[in-house]
């Protein structure tokens, strides 16, 4: 959802119109602009279009890279990691079951401190199997040591891929990164995207130069076993520190990016927050629906606002605190579910605020959009209504799980068909 008018600046002072691209095409285009060397790949809906596009470009010679289709995502991630250790700039993409199938390797690749960019096109996890998105897949990788950048628009997808390389490969970071986009809502949706020009990208993104790549002349051993917990702790603490540093590195990179391409990105983004008293916290493509809900509440005279989490790892605690403190109430919209606990991001946001003196009196946990469940604008505004009701004391705090009555009626019919009876 472009917010800055129809025309954007290409960095050279020229207004450009951009073009209609899907989120998948935006991801592939950014990988090409990043002059990626190597793409190990494996198909899965709704990501497949990314690797098909790249395979096509490599074959026709418009992308100078090696493309290889592996036999699984586990293998794909292994090859991605070892290629990065050997000094290649690596791009790959997956989704859902594929990300989980690769999960063992995510921890290895980050432990190797092998930077690369993995685009995850979110899709809810089986069982039951479904094709539409929620964020249980990408959040399952939350603790893996990957930097995580989540996108709201197709434009952001392209920009995040380029920023992710800058951050991941920075010598202060040296960690892999995931750029997330929602299946269908972004992956297959065409909207206006302004791609940066190659010259600009070349100056933004220096060549990948890891400190100790595998080399014949200077051999190195990677991923050696450690036998003692304190040595393991040392390396893990260092990974943590590198991930924490990634936030500052991101901000530096974003400054350069803005200078070159005109678009401004922070780890979080506020929408109509200036005087906002009721704030919804969310991420990914449904944030657009959140903005619309804010506008509708504002029309009704409610001082509503939105806080978008663009960076999920490292968690932007300071930014969240700065933008939520002093508000009356907040709600965390989680498009994911940890059964038996609730939304996954809620506790992170709530924990960030715990020691803040003027924190919102209420932080409302909301779960919705699982399996890509569509959300109407009334459903979105109901989150604000609930926030206000709870905060004014007219209702006790209880987590919200979004489901509409007409949806429930359809579910009931389906269950009856499945199980027989009336």
């Amino acid at each position: 959802m472009p917010t800055e008018g129809d025309l954007a600046d290409d960095g050279g002072g020229h207004a450009v119109k951009g073009k209609l691209l899907t989120g998948n095409a935006a991801a592939a285009s950014a990988a090409r602009l990043a002059r990626v060397d190597y793409i190990p790949a494996y198909p899965i809906t709704p990501q497949t279009e990314i690797i098909e596009t790249i395979a096509d470009w490599v074959r026709e010679g418009t992308m100078d890279a090696k493309f290889v289709q592996l036999e699984s995502e586990h293998s794909m991630m292994t090859a991605a990691g070892t290629a990065s250790l050997a000094g290649a700039r690596v791009f790959t993409a997956t989704s859902s079951q594929g990300l989980l199938y690769a999960m063992e390797m995510l921890y290895n690749v980050s432990g190797w401190r092998a930077p690369m960019v993995l685009v995850n096109v979110s899709r809810a996890l089986a069982a039951p199997i479904v094709l539409e998105p929620d964020h249980n897949d990408v959040l399952a990788a939350r603790d893996s040591g990957f930097i995580q950048l989540h996108s709201e628009t197709c434009q952001e997808v392209a920009d995040m891929v380029l920023l992710a390389y800058r951050v991941a490969e920075d010598s202060r970071v040296m960690l892999p990164a995931i750029v997330n986009l929602d299946g269908f809502y972004l992956s297959f949706t065409r909207e206006r995207v302004v791609l940066p020009d190659q010259k600009g990208v070349d100056s933004f993104l220096p060549p990948y130069q890891p400190p100790h790549p595998l080399r014949a002349s200077q051999p190195v051993a990677k991923g050696t076993a450690v036998m003692e917990g304190f040595v393991y702790s040392y390396f893990k603490y260092n990974m943590h520190a590198a991930a924490v540093r990634a936030k500052k590195v991101f901000s530096e990179a974003a400054r350069d990016y803005k200078e070159l391409f005109g678009r401004d990105y922070g780890p979080v983004e506020g929408y109509r927050l200036d005087d906002a008293e009721y704030v919804i916290v969310m991420s990914n493509s449904f944030t657009t629906l959140g903005r619309q809900a804010v506008n509708r509440m504002r029309e009704r005279g409610v001082p509503a606002g939105l806080l978008k989490l663009r960076m999920v790892r490292p968690f932007p605690t300071e930014e969240v605190v700065a933008l939520l403190k002093g508000r009356k109430a907040a709600a965390v919209f989680d498009q994911n579910l940890s059964p038996g606990s609730g939304g996954i991001l809620f506790p992170e946001v709530a924990a960030s605020m715990y020691h803040v003196r003027d924190r919102p009196q209420t932080i409302l946990p909301v779960v919705g959009g699982l399996g890509g469940k569509q959300l109407t604008s009334d459903e979105m505004t109901s989150i604000f209504e609930e926030m206000i009701a709870v905060n004014s004391g007219s209702k006790p705090l209880a987590p919200m799980f979004l489901m509409r009555s007409e949806e429930m009626a359809k579910v009931k019919r389906a269950v009856a068909l499945a199980e027989g009876g009336s």
Binding site: W112, G223, V226, Y234, F235, Y237, N238, M239, A242
Partner: protein
């Protein structure tokens, strides 16, 4: 009263079994008890450790014993092995039982505050079992020093050795050996005191000051490990008989042999593990073996 016992051995010597025998024995004798090995990829010959705690009250400790009341050292070559460091943290007034042929005062001269007991367990085992099986002997020595009842202890020996699959005959012989060791020693009145230590926590900022990547760029640096300590027997080349055929060199799994400029093979004793493949394979029987150290 709680006693914390740390056994040190080499992979294959039975440190874990010793810790379990003692654990069972204490349990049989009415104590709360706890035993466990260091879980790692234990290779035959490599330093290993195992632990037993027992107490007349509930045990509220877990994990590695940093300050033992008693250490049981199954192999005196471990004393100088920095990877094993068997006396580390031994409490003031504590006791070390060492399997050795050396005299006890030669073992830990700088620790006048601890009791050192030297027993030639290997000698006894070779005599009574025909093999250097050490678990029952070291457990017996420690159990006796710790004041555990004889019948409870002997039942534990039989129980554990059956568990690891020894034949009834070997179990019987081990019980006899255990009795002999047990009978040779007397209980100690242990009044121990932890060595003073000072906890200094390192702030995260210090931990992460470096690059923090797990790279080994000095590849081929393993010779400092000195796996020569793993040896029970030492291969010795008789250069009079040797014809430089290089067969032993070819089959040494350790790269512990080299071919010198003059064509003669040489053994790197710092790292030769004493597998004796070279001895077996030498067609001219030019390699012989000698016992390492005093223990064996």
């Amino acid at each position: 009263m709680m006693l914390r016992v740390r056994f040190h051995g080499r992979g294959g010597q039975g440190a874990k079994t010793a810790s379990r025998i003692l654990g069972d024995a204490a349990f049989n004798d009415g104590y709360y008890s706890q035993d466990f090995p260091i879980y790692g990829a234990e290779r035959r010959g490599a330093p290993v450790a195992a632990f037993t705690r027992f107490s007349d009250g509930e045990i509220t400790e877990r994990g590695f014993i940093f300050s033992p009341d008693i250490v049981g050292v199954m192999d005196d070559s471990l004393i100088d092995d920095p990877l094993a460091n068997p006396f580390a943290g031994l409490r003031k007034g504590g006791c070390a039982v060492v399997n050795t042929t050396k005299r006890s005062d030669a073992l830990l001269a700088d620790r006048k505050d601890a009791t050192i007991i030297a027993v030639d367990l290997t000698g006894m085992a070779l005599k009574m079992l025909g093999k250097a099986v050490l678990s029952s002997g070291i457990a017996a020595a420690v159990a006796r020093v710790a004041g555990i009842g004889e019948s409870q202890f002997l039942a534990a020996v039989a129980e554990e050795l059956r568990e690891v699959g020894l034949s009834e005959e070997m179990v019987r012989k081990n019980v006899e050996l255990a009795m002999a060791v047990y009978g040779q020693l007397a209980p100690l009145e242990l009044r121990t005191e932890e060595l003073p230590t000072k906890l200094e926590l390192v702030p995260l900022a210090v931990v992460v000051s470096g690059e923090g990547m797990e790279d080994v760029t000095r590849t081929g640096n393993s010779a400092v490990r000195h796996t020569g300590n793993w040896r029970t027997f030492k291969p010795v080349i008789d250069y009079e008989k040797c014809t430089d055929c290089m067969i032993c060199y070819a089959y040494c799994p350790e790269s512990a042999m080299s071919v010198r400029e003059d064509g003669r093979v040489a053994i790197d004793y710092d790292n030769c593990k004493g597998c004796m493949i070279c001895l077996t394979e030498c067609p001219l029987r030019a390699i012989s073996q000698t016992m390492e150290g005093g223990t064996r």
